[in-house]
Symmetry: C2
Subunit: 436 residues, 2 copies
């Protein structure tokens, strides 16, 4: 069983005052990792940890020799331009760093770390890891069923779904960090009543609300990662918008899966919340008795007891008109990662059951995290019922799919009685007009 | 139109005698690139060029300052442990290096380059590039139709096939170089008459005969590569065995495509034949008049005139019994890349039409290159008609799918009157028993 340790203590307060606010995503119990530099500078990107409204510069921590032991090794590894080396060390190193930072940031500690602070309002981010391979899973049975109904009315949920944690390979090169902008993609589409396809700008541009998962320690080719060892290979989580061109997808995806409908842009949030920080929000994972129970390699008592995570997720849209009128972004969906049909550990065990080698910094998308209720759908495709029912944005505007100039924002956090809020920050990205 | 230059002259002979044999894959007109070191050494891997039975060590060429100008820049870039930097320079640099090496290797030239020779029999290879992203295409209509019949008897060739150069994302981490061995993968499979799936070793392990294509100069995200500019972004070709677990594939692949059926191993040949070396073997590309003609972004006079390549391909199997009895590998299939329904330039133009960014060293598989005749099928799935008709190996053994201990060898070359033979060497890989 995962044990909570002193870093999770809800009563811990920091001498960084902004970290003690109840609404703060980055209290002393969180301490997520990113790659950053001062905005607009030519500084080298390096690793940082968030505390309140500050970023702790890990390269500075290392060069000032503020830490010792495994924590110092971790800070030195995180001084690189990506977090891959830290990820590859194994979670005990990030954990040692987390504990050392927790101790150094507590009320009463000396303020040595302050020498490594950069105000969060003054930084810009890069991708936190070099993503060698990106795998997109499909773990929401609610999303699979409702999208299946739209793409295959006669056959919405395929027979393999409840046995296989369905996944497919995505493209790494087009993954960008929050703030990514991209042009509306062109592609081949064919209306059902058209004789021939044609090339043109995507007419059904959509977001997908996903959790992102970074691999930590890898496995050698040919080695399987057993379900109960999976946690040792997961570095942490982020928010992930897996942009999708629905009309391109509908025409291209058979028989080998989505391709150009997905690889024009995919956006991650900058901060990676470690698996350790998530410990208080592990919850039991269950499978409906009426459903098939998992095959042995996807089944364990530990996975049943605490394989799932209670992570609240939200999608907001801010249109050009809202920006012009200084209106805030409008919530369009609330969901929760607890609805996932498969756990992260099951994803890892399944991905490697054939001997496939994972590398530090590899990335999984969870698949669109739609919940059981219609309003919990993680894409406009579902919310608008395939484009038939416009979604009200509350300011007189509606959307079936996204318009040029729309900004999509995703937020996520964990909160409950008796534990500190663990926030993910946000991922935000804006659509530019097609270049025709 | 692609012009031949002095490096293509069929009458050129080299002072490296082994390069002048008619059967040699690596005459002076070829000069392919690889990453190598002395076998069994701790030397750093670096770039090399093949000439006859020798490898020209490009790091040595650079350190000895044997070349000047763009050729020297190229040799220096190719001194890295991967060819990515050379690829990213753009093809004019590899072309300058090719011309300089051609001049230095000709009969009558001084033998300065000999100081950089390593006998090919004494080297081992690594992947020639860091492959950021790997895309597998599906460009043989014969393969698509015959496999389609087996997976979807009622619907073999889907309506998009003749419009869209179908491709999907593959996994980079499990790509290895010739000599790769791998354990038979485990996976979920479900027999049609079974009530439930089960986990076990793959029973239908297969090869796929593909051409591999390395991207040279990349494109920025959002920029399209027009069809007639595609050649500037293709560094060269190799042989590619895209191992496939057919029983795992059949159960997992809907709706998002193959995943664990493909990512346990994929094997490339070590030598990359440059696009320039292939120039004499460009041929016209045609589309049956009865078939849809390409949309405008996939159509050009140049692509019609010389978009295709005449590359002869062969698959051989050597079983454990053959090795024990000192029998040579047995040919099971001959095909040709000229059968491809789409050209490499069309793959590039399609891949980027949505703004997807390609990076130097990215890799495309052509898809299994089955020809129109049954004996030209590029997989056992096709040759054995879905496992129903065993393939005779000529020594009393037969195969429907591959056994443990089987070595699969692929060879390729171009040859015709009036041009030098341009060989690819081979890719060879052996199946180890499953680890259960």
């Amino acid at each position: 069983m995962i044990q909570l340790n002193e870093t999770h203590d809800v009563n811990l307060k920091s001498w960084v005052a902004s970290a003690n606010s109840e609404a703060c995503d980055f209290p002393i119990q969180n301490l997520p990792f990113a790659i950053f530099r001062r905005a607009g500078s030519n500084e080298t990107y390096r690793g940082g940890v968030a505390i309140g409204d500050q970023v702790i510069d890990l390269a500075k921590v290392a060069s000032l020799k503020l830490l010792s032991g495994d924590a110092a090794v971790a800070a030195e590894a995180a001084s690189d331009t990506t977090l891959n080396r830290l990820m590859g060390l194994g979670n005990q190193f990030a954990s040692a760093l987390r504990l050392a930072l927790s101790k150094g940031l507590r009320e009463g500690a000396d303020r040595a770390l302050e020498a490594a602070f950069v105000p969060m309002s003054e930084v810009e981010y890069e991708l936190p890891a070099h993503i060698g391979d990106y795998t997109d899973f499909y773990t929401s049975v609610f999303h699979a069923t409702s999208v299946g109904k739209l793409f295959r009315p006669d056959n919405p949920l395929l027979p393999n779904y409840k046995w296989v944690p369905i996944g497919y390979h995505g493209r790494s090169s087009s993954i960008g960090v929050s703030g990514q902008t991209f042009r509306r993609p062109l592609g081949q589409t064919k209306a059902p009543d058209a004789a021939e396809p044609s090339l043109g700008p995507c007419k059904r541009l959509d977001y997908e609300l996903e959790l992102g998962i970074y691999v930590g320690k890898g496995n050698a080719m040919g080695d399987r990662i057993p379900l109960d060892a999976a946690d040792d290979h997961v570095f942490g989580f982020c928010l992930f918008n897996d942009w999708s061109a629905r009309d391109i997808q509908a025409w291209e995806y058979q028989p080998l899966g989505p391709f150009l409908a997905k690889n024009f842009a995919s956006t991650v949030s900058p901060w990676i919340v470690t698996l350790e920080a998530m410990a208080p929000y592990r919850i039991s994972w269950t499978r409906d008795e009426a459903d098939p129970q998992p095959l042995a390699y996807l089944e364990s008592a530990a996975n049943r007891a605490q394989g799932a995570f209670d992570i609240k997720l939200e999608v907001l849209i801010q249109t050009e008109q809202m920006r012009r009128n200084n209106q805030p972004a409008q919530s369009v969906s609330f969901s929760n990662f607890s609805h996932s049909y498969w756990t992260v550990a099951q994803m890892v065990a399944h991905h490697t059951v054939n001997g496939c080698n994972l590398k530090p910094g590899d990335f999984f998308g969870s698949g669109t995290q739609s919940g059981p209720e219609h309003k919990e759908a993680g894409s406009l495709l579902e919310l608008s019922n395939g484009g038939k029912e416009p979604v009200d944005l509350g300011n007189g505007e509606t959307r079936t799919f996204l318009n040029d100039g729309d900004t999509v924002i995703m937020r996520g956090f964990c909160a409950k009685e008796g534990a500190a809020r663990i926030g993910f920050g946000e991922v935000s990205s804006t659509i530019l007009p097609a270049d025709c």
